[in-house]
């Protein structure tokens, strides 16, 4: 045994087959009777006063390295004799209780004992005689908090192994490990085998599914290995039988006892952690039964009075308590001495609770997992049941197991769909701490290999494999998670959260608001691999320059636009006017042009013409052209970021080939749209394009070409000398203010006066359809520029004229974006109007979704389930007007302070004369 060598090399090892002591505490003094029996260990050195509430039990046979000591009191000191025997421990608060332990009699023997701690006990100090200083040293080094650690040291049987698996012949339903972590039992409908866990592989040790006729008793829903007796197993059969198996039996069939008391499938069996002969079962028939293995039938039956029992678990700390979880979502706590009723019941989940598990260290904590995909941790230590943690997984939770030695970790696997095993840190419920992805089908059983070792997890699955997972091999989803977040605000602000390191390395950026930082996660000192990565993020908010005013136009336009109900010309004019008032000349101009393009010439009244043309009184087309270019220079700057400005500038001056060429090289920051595409779009829209293109003289377009005067535009743009220089500035210093840009760009306006006017030649014979492709491009342009408002508005106003030009999906996309924006600005009415006017069926049906309004009765506060105005519970009309005492069937307005209200009109009238509530409740009503 490697264990012995490690502890003490010098002494001879004597095969220890003697009895040893198991010490455990009863349930404190009040239950002393149960714990007073003491079996005298053989060959004691000194039987010091054995405390009354400690009980010792001899074990019939001992595997060499499996001596154990369970002390359930606080341990303060440990004495070890010269021979290496642990003589006594001091327990309790200063009271000396010494008792002899484990194979004491033989000197030089009995080394490799293991000390099992329940986990709560701690060695604060270990006193050792100096005879064996080597051992002293080792023990002192490990004078650690938990007995469990001492276990490892003393026995030296540290678990080793690697991630490995073996194929089973059939799907597994459940697995369980032997207490020394050397063997695992796998049970399922068609399998019942024991495997020993070797360094490199699983080795089949026994097949318990033997016999001529395989009855349903072998079809196991659950299996559990006794944690005190290595020979004892229990299974729950799908036909309702509870079977125990004794591996010590000489015959091939190891079946020991058979209890067929349950009428339905038994879902779970559980051994008492400290009591050898006590077995508990929970069944589909709603009963839990407690069996004493020395008797032939159950000792007591517990009726949950609710539905099927899905899981039963003895409390680890509390001798008499167990928890049961039910199909209807309840969890009950029972005392095994009181079968008549449960001690406590609470509703843990919505839907069945598939599993529960007591925290190994913390007395009051119970983890439950349910079909509602939640894992919840309950604190039951006080009289009030409290949910302390909650983890939301992605599938229903089939099993949950606390991770040994890790207070906040637990492992889960799911019942359907999801095949992975997750290890959660319950304090970080959003992302699994570790994840095992080996299984190909749902995992049906998980168990930590050793109750004090957090690094090995065993799992069985429907895919007929048995796995041992090493925790260090687990994948860590957090490593793959993207720790950066980016979001645009409503007013153009940009929020960016990212790791601290990103910002420190990039000194150019300043975090928002000077050095203000918004930490999102705080983490304790980085420590090993057992911590979540130390993530601390900071949040940066980039504000739009020029403040939030920049989006006012959006709200105003949305509210003032008229989209339907008048002739096209009127709509266009109106909208153009609105746009103009808001200094959005380009948009205004577009509207005007649409009017011109799509309304028949006769429809344009002179008044309208004048209005749109303004003081120059020239040809609308020409006029629009120049205004357009003004708008081009001017208006976008107000609302868009610098990159776009830069782009605009770029294209305005793209008539100069040289500059264009240069700039194209530099065009990295802006959009990746080809420059010439934008050329057409930005500069021209439809009419403009013709004239500009004329320079290149496409022959077939001659008939549509306007007179020479139109080329004033060219000069006008080229005449603006300052622009190119300015452009360079901008590229270099992106933080140039909006004002600066504006002043420079306003200059071209002056040159417009040079324009002359000629008669429109095309009006008479140019079909409106001709422009469709241009209008389409224009809409796309607006949408791409982020002005989806314009795109949608034009789409609605033009209606059928343009709709077929644009494919359905794009339209839908625009509509949804615009509606989304409107709703974010809380422009509900406008958004509804848009939905109503849209012609996409998928948009229209927005109005039909979630149209039901759930109301509660104002009298009894219960939901009104029936249609109509009478509450079916209190038989009164629910919504009475406080003024006229009639039922309100239309708009109901009420005060949020006193909840009285009535017809909108009545309340308004009432409030004109009085500010008190019309119902006479004395409340000073406030309506906003």
């Amino acid at each position: 045994m490697g264990s012995l060598g490690e502890v003490d090399h010098s002494e001879d090892y004597v095969e220890e087959q003697g009895s040893y002591l198991q010490l455990m505490k009863g349930r404190g003094e009040d239950h002393g009777e149960s714990g007073s029996a003491l079996a005298a260990p053989s060959g004691q050195e000194d039987t010091v006063d054995t405390p009354r509430h400690f009980r010792a039990q001899p074990f019939p046979s001992l595997p060499k390295r499996a001596e154990r000591l369970v002390a359930q009191a606080h341990v303060t000191r440990v004495y070890i004799t010269w021979g290496g025997t642990l003589v006594g421990v001091v327990a309790g608060e200063g009271r000396r209780r010494r008792f002899p332990v484990a194979g004491g009699g033989r000197k030089g023997g009995g080394d490799g004992f293991r000390v099992h701690g329940g986990g709560r006990q701690a060695f604060h100090k270990i006193d050792l005689p100096l005879h064996n200083w080597q051992r002293c040293l080792k023990l002192l080094v490990f004078s650690m908090e938990k007995m469990a650690r001492v276990t490892t040291v003393l026995s030296g049987s540290t678990i080793t192994g690697r991630t490995m698996f073996c194929h089973l012949d059939a799907p597994a339903n459940a697995i369980s490990v032997c207490r020394d972590a050397a063997q695992v039992v796998v049970a399922g409908r068609n399998i019942f085998k024991i495997y020993s866990i070797e360094e490199e592989q699983f080795v089949e040790r026994a097949n318990l599914r033997v016999g001529r006729k395989l009855s349903l008793n072998f079809s196991c829903a659950d299996v559990v290995w006794h944690q005190m007796d290595d020979n004892l197993l229990a299974t729950a059969a799908t036909n309702g039988a509870v079977v125990t198996w004794n591996l010590g039996k000489p015959s091939r069939n190891k079946q020991d006892q058979l209890f067929t008391e349950h009428k339905r499938t038994v879902n779970k069996v559980c051994f008492h952690p400290n009591e050898v002969n006590m077995l508990l079962s929970g069944s589909q028939d709603g009963y839990m039964k407690c069996f004493d293995l020395r008797k032939r039938e159950s000792v007591s039956t517990f009726s949950g009075q609710s539905e099927s029992v899905r899981d039963v678990q003895f409390s680890i700390k509390d001798y008499f308590a167990f928890a049961a979880s039910f199909e209807n979502g309840n969890v009950q706590l029972w005392d095994i001495r009181r079968p008549d009723r449960y001690e406590r019941m609470f509703t843990a989940h919505n839907g069945p609770v598939f599993c529960c598990d007591w925290h190994p260290d913390d007395r009051g904590w119970l983890a439950t997992g349910g079909r509602d995909k939640m894992v919840k941790v309950w604190d039951l230590s006080t009289t009030r049941t409290k949910e302390v943690y909650c983890v939301q997984t992605i599938a229903s939770v089939a099993r949950v197991k606390w991770r040994p030695e890790m207070k906040y970790h637990l492992a889960t696997c799911s019942m359907m769909v999801d095949h992975n095993i997750y290890v959660w840190d319950i304090r970080r419920p959003y992302i699994p701490f570790g994840m095992f992805e080996e299984h190909k089908d749902v995992t049906t059983g998980i168990i930590w290999r050793h109750i004090h070792d957090p690094y090995y997890l065993l799992s069985g699955s429907k895919d007929s494999t048995l796995y041992q997972h090493m925790f260090k091999d687990a994948s860590r989803p957090v490593d793959r998670a993207n720790p950066e977040g980016l979001c645009y605000g409503l007013f153009g602000d940009l929020a960016f959260a990212g790791k601290d390191s990103m910002f420190t390395s990039d000194s150019n950026r300043k975090t928002y608001g000077g050095e203000r930082r918004y930490p999102i996660f705080f983490f304790k000192k980085p420590d090993l691999s057992e911590q979540f990565a130390n993530v601390s993020s900071s949040l940066n908010v980039f504000e739009m320059e020029g403040g939030s005013n920049s989006v006012d136009w959006f709200v105003n336009m949305a509210q003032q636009y008229i989209l339907t109900g008048r002739s096209l010309a009127e709509l266009c004019d109106h909208n153009a006017k609105i746009a103009k008032e808001l200094y959005r000349y380009q948009v205004a101009q577009t509207w005007t042009m649409l009017r011109i393009v799509y309304s028949s010439p006769g429809a344009i009244s002179s008044v309208n013409l004048n209005q749109s043309i303004g003081k120059s009184g020239g040809l609308p087309l020409m006029n629009s052209l120049k205004e357009l270019s003004v708008a081009l220079n001017n208006e976008p700057r107000l609302e868009r970021g610098k990159a776009e400005n830069w782009q605009e500038m770029n294209h305005i001056h793209s008539s100069n080939p040289l500059i264009t060429a240069n700039e194209e090289n530099e065009e990295t920051e802006g959009s990746d749209v080809p420059a010439d595409y934008l050329f057409g779009d930005v500069e021209g829209d439809e009419d403009d394009l013709y004239m500009v293109d004329h320079e290149n003289a496409p022959a077939e377009e001659h008939e549509y070409i306007l007179p020479q005067e139109a080329f004033q535009l060219r000069h006008e743009i080229i005449d603006n000398p300052s622009a190119p220089d300015h452009l360079q500035d901008k590229v270099e210093s992106p933080h140039v203010s909006g004002n600066e840009a504006e002043t420079v760009c306003l200059t071209p306006i002056e040159s417009f006066s040079l324009m002359s006017i000629s008669q429109p030649l095309y009006d008479a014979y140019l079909p409106a359809d001709y422009f469709n492709s241009l209008v389409k491009d224009m809409l796309h342009y607006y949408a791409e520029q982020g002005d989806v408002q314009m795109a949608v508005s034009v789409l609605i106003v033009l209606g059928d004229r343009i709709r077929k030009e644009i494919d359905e999906q794009t339209q839908e996309h625009w509509y949804t974006s615009y509606i989304d924006l409107l709703q974010r600005f809380k422009l509900w009415n406008v958004s509804n109007e848009v939905i109503k006017l849209s012609t996409c069926s998928s948009i229209n049906c927005f109005n039909q979704a979630s149209t039901s309004l759930h109301i509660n009765c104002s009298n009894c506060k219960r939901p009104m389930s029936s249609k109509g105005w009478i509450c079916d519970r209190c038989r009164q009309c629910a919504s009475m007007c406080a003024v006229c005492h009639q039922v309100v069937k239309g708009l109901f307005v009420w005060c949020q302070g006193c909840s009285h209200g009535g017809h909108l009109q009545h309340i308004m009238n009432w409030l004109r004369t009085s500010s008190h509530c019309p119902a006479g409740c004395g409340h000073l009503c406030e309506y906003t």
């Binding site: 409908r189 006729k213 009855s215 349903l216 008793n217 079809s219 829903a221 059969a237 799908t238 036909n239 309702g240 067929t260 349950h262 009428k263 339905r264 499938t265 589909q284 199909e327 839907g351 069945p352 598939f354 079909r371 599938a395 229903s396 089939a398 019942m415 359907m416 769909v417 095949h419 190909k440 089908d441 749902v442 429907k462 895919d463 979704a849 389930s865 029936s866 249609k867 109509g868 079916d872």
Partner: protein, 486 residues
């Protein structure tokens, strides 16, 4: 037509005055022909007067009726019959509403079309008619109704799964699922598929209920009305065929002689239940015995042949265009005959597995179905015929498990010997017919089982049949989907 239907449903409440007004108004002044219902009351099997009368129902049921009327615009015969069991009706209506009228993966006209497909498999003209109307109402293309060939390929692809689920659900495999999901542009998404499966199973089993209770056609549907004015002759025929007074007198006459026998029936049944309850602990059948019992029950169910003859005649030929007469119900194969393994209920249960899968792919439906199954499984009034305070759980479980047994689903923890004790032959014939070939159900079958039991109890049985069938089909379909996913 709608008006007439409304008038019909409101008739008992408002009295005959209003009906008269309506009739005279329409008939004389507007020249509208007033349709008259052909059948009497909602069910062919149950005399109208024993069915809940509108206006006399209790508050709970009334609310449900009002709600049903408000959401559907009609109060159909199915709803009226289910009114016997308001708790169930509530859940049923909620589920159906969610499946058909609430946003979900499938477009509305698809849903109705699938309902038509499913109902047509059982030649259930009643459901077909209703959903043809609904289909047209939600804007479905009338051309599709010419037959499955005229429908989009995507829907055509469903035909096979529809057939299998309706008649031999145990044959469905992951290949079927894969075929539906992988079919390029005509492929279904997983969520859609789950919706489809739920709809198919819902309407298959609803067809069972329709036949099992002998639902009469709705007045506004074909075959549900006549424009003939009431004449003495038609009245007589009508009354006679629909088992009103004359027939009842006849029956009563018979009952004079049969009376004692039928009373015994209930007594015997109750005694058996008691016995089973008591002796369960004493005698433990060996495991092999249990297994053979299951097999025996399964095999025996094969011999319980549904009555032949009396082919149902379709009133609307739509349904004929959807069915494939070559594919009908076939018995679950005997052990060893084919490679269809027994479905172990514990390995794939609705509560654990089915629910999780459905709810994942089609949110909330799992919850609704779960509720519905639970309600129907646990529904009891602790009465049996004239006896009160009876624990019927055993009987209900026997019925439920018998149906699952016919579909080859076995519960490890059930002793199938119980079924034999509790369900007599007539009853088994009825169950088998309703579940497997509902179109063959006749009034004689309905009358011949459980003669002493109330109609409400027989409807209760029908609900059990319907839900057990639905769950069985769902389990097979969902297993196939799960297999496909893993």
């Amino acid at each position: 037509m709608r008006l007439a239907s409304v008038a019909n449903t409101t008739k008992p409440r408002d009295g005959s005055v209003r009906e008269y007004l309506l009739c005279s108004n329409c008939q004389k002044e507007m020249g509208v022909r007033i349709p008259r219902p052909l059948g009497q009351g909602p069910s062919e099997f149950i005399p109208e007067k024993e069915i809940i009368q509108l206006g006399r129902e209790d508050a709970e049921t009334r609310l449900l009726f009002i709600e049903a009327f408000a959401t559907l615009g009609r109060l159909d015969n199915i709803t009226l019959l289910m009114g016997f069991h308001p708790r169930y009706l509530d859940s049923f209506l909620k589920t159906q509403h969610y499946l058909m009228q609430v946003d979900g993966p499938l477009p509305y006209h698809y849903r109705h079309y699938i309902a038509i497909m499913a109902a047509a498999r059982h030649q259930c003209s009643y459901l077909v008619n209703i959903h043809v109307n609904d289909f047209l109402q939600v804007g479905g293309d009338p051309k599709w109704l010419a037959g499955l060939d005229s429908a989009p390929l995507k829907l055509q692809a469903l035909s096979e799964v529809n057939k299998i689920l309706a008649h031999r659900p145990w044959l469905i495999t992951k290949d079927h699922i894969e075929k539906l999901l992988k079919a390029e542009e005509h492929g279904w998404s997983l969520a859609e598929l789950v919706h489809v499966v739920v709809l198919l199973t819902h309407y298959h089993s609803l067809a069972s209920f329709t036949y099992g209770c002998g639902i009469n056609p709705e007045i506004h549907c074909d075959g549900g009305h006549t424009f003939q004015l009431p004449s003495v002759g038609s009245c007589c025929v009508c009354d006679f065929t629909n088992g009103n007074d004359v027939v009842e007198d006849l029956l009563n006459g018979q009952e004079g002689t049969k009376g004692t026998e039928t009373v015994c029936e209930v007594e015997v049944l109750m005694k058996k239940m008691k016995q089973l309850q008591e002796c369960r602990d004493e005698e433990e059948a060996s495991q092999e015995e249990m297994a053979t019992r299951f097999e025996r029950e399964k095999i025996e169910s094969l011999y319980v042949a549904p009555a032949e003859g009396e082919e149902a005649v379709d009133t609307r030929d739509v349904s004929r265009r959807f069915e494939d007469p070559t594919y009908g119900y076939k018995e679950f194969p005997r052990q060893g005959e084919q490679n269809v393994p027994t479905f172990r209920a514990q390995d794939y249960t609705w509560e654990d597995h089915g629910y999780s899968l459905v709810n994942r792919l089609y949110p909330d439906v799992g919850q609704l179905l779960d509720e519905k199954f639970q309600i129907v499984y646990n529904l009891t009034y602790n009465t049996m015929a004239m006896h009160k305070d009876v624990d019927t759980s055993m009987l209900r479980r026997a019925i439920w498990n018998y149906i699952h047994c016919m579909f080859g689903i076995r519960y490890d923890d059930y002793d199938y010997g119980e079924i034999n004790q509790l369900l007599d032959r007539n009853f088994k014939v009825y169950i088998k017919t309703v579940v497997c070939c509902p179109a063959k159900t006749t009034k004689r079958m309905y009358d011949s089982f459980w003669r002493q039991f109330k109609h409400s109890e027989k409807i209760h049985v029908n609900l059990l049949l319907m839900e057990a069938r639905m769950q069985a089909e769902l389990l097979y379909a969902l297993t196939a989907i799960t297999r496909y996913l893993t």
